[in-house]
Symmetry: C2
Subunit: 275 residues, 2 copies
């Protein structure tokens, strides 16, 4: 164990220094004051410590996890407190059994709006993934995971999307929401227009019959892939602003999960660019 690590044993589940970790199942930390988020488990902690865009505020570990995680903990900055407690105290703080025994709290900082993100003078390789009205944490997390797997340059989320830094979204993203650049806020149409104005082609993914089959289209150099809510799909106004594109599917059952649709489009584009 590095001697620099700032280890703080805690014995009282009501210790105010653990406030960020209390009752984390129900709590919505990210939208409250302070803009904190919770990371759980070893893999995501490793992402937070090694390739995250965000600052780490503290760690909270079950005592039994200190030895097995020694190598990883050597990467914790010396000024970041590492609270430790017996498993039962940790469970009481979290409000449910925290079997993994690994929690950390990050600081969200400022997340740009899609228009700000696009106008940044940064070269971005890979397509952008645009999400409109994706309010399910699993779907948001899966979209980030898939975007990372297929080399997307970033994600834009409109105001109707849930926060990709929700605990469950981070977990489902396999940590991708901690390192992939993203923007969040404003209307779907503002988002699409910002991307169009920056010279992107926007593929509005929709099962509608009048949409072009994805495989029939050349893949533009600057491509944005737009996904909408799973039930209703993208609203007409967003489809009309973009290029309607469909994934060919079986006639009797044209229903796939929205994150899966995004993965199929991203994988197709990635494969075309490699080929």
């Amino acid at each position: 164990m590095g001697s620099l690590m700032h280890l703080i044993p805690v014995t009282d589940p009501a210790d105010p220094r653990l406030a960020a970790y209390t009752s984390i199942r129900e709590k919505d930390l990210t939208s409250g004051h302070g803009g904190r988020f919770i990371v759980e488990g070893k893999v995501t902690l490793e992402t937070l410590l090694t390739r995250s865009r965000f600052a780490v505020e503290s760690l909270f570990l079950a005592e039994s996890r200190l030895a097995p995680l020694a190598d990883l903990l050597a990467k914790v900055p010396a000024d970041v407190p590492v609270y430790t407690a017996p498993q039962d105290i940790m469970d009481q703080v979290a409000g449910f059994p925290m079997h993994r025994g690994v929690l950390a709290c990050g600081l969200k900082g400022d997340i740009p709006l899609p228009g700000e993100f696009i106008s940044e003078d940064k070269p971005r390789s890979g397509p952008l993934l645009l999400l409109s009205d994706i309010s399910n944490h699993d779907n948001t997390g899966a979209c980030f995971r898939n975007a990372a797997a297929f080399g997307a340059g970033g994600l834009l989320l409109d105001e109707r999307c849930c926060d990709p830094l929700y605990r469950k979204a981070i977990r489902v993203s396999s940590g991708a929401s901690l390192f992939l650049p993203y923007a969040h806020g404003g209307t779907g149409l503002d988002m699409v227009n910002a991307v169009l104005n920056a010279g992107y082609t926007v593929w509005a993914m929709t099962p509608r019959a009048e949409a072009q089959p994805m495989q029939s289209l050349p893949v533009p150099d600057k491509l944005a892939i737009l996904l909408g809510a799973e039930g209703p799909g993208l609203p007409d106004a967003l489809i009309a602003a973009a290029e309607p594109v469909r994934i060919p599917m079986s006639a009797g059952f044209d229903s796939i999960n929205v994150a899966t649709a995004g993965a199929i489009a991203l994988a197709h584009v990635f494969g075309e660019k490699q080929g």
Copy 2:
């Protein structure tokens, strides 16, 4: 409401005729005696009544759902009892709030083994999806949903896979596990060998570098796509028996969900066959 429907009001949550519906959250009906499964929600009930492979044993509906579902309920066979109860009685039976107010119980019957399935003298269009050691209900359900969306001819599951007729697997499948033909049981190697012996090419999906990129391969007429457990991936013996195939991914993050990997492979094959 069709006058033929066999409507049975129930007022006692302990009524033995509702035994199949008690405490359904925890219960594993499918592997027990009797081989029943539970369907919940309108969309899945419609699948059960209109395109399922399975017999319906009974329905259990909140009273308030009778009128809105009248058209669908007209399709219930006259000899199938339809139990109805006030919402609070239904909640007590199910063991948790059954907001949708729609449950049905189906009979599983005999599910063939993969070897039996393959030796059936039936023409099957579309690729087969082979699952080895997929024990997560969400992943199993998603695999069925994706298989239906991309015209798979059926699914083979080895003995280490969970039952696709678990309540949650059916729901996540959007009902596809009720109508897609499938087989379940035996070892992964028996499953792969049965398919190879029947003249199929088996693509073992793996991120390993030595695997061929999917897009570089011709799509065989008789194709089986083999997926393994998400964490460890396919065991060496199954990869060695088949053709290792990979989905090209970003070098720094080659991790996608197993059902998503299956969807990408199925969508690619479907697109090639359409094109």
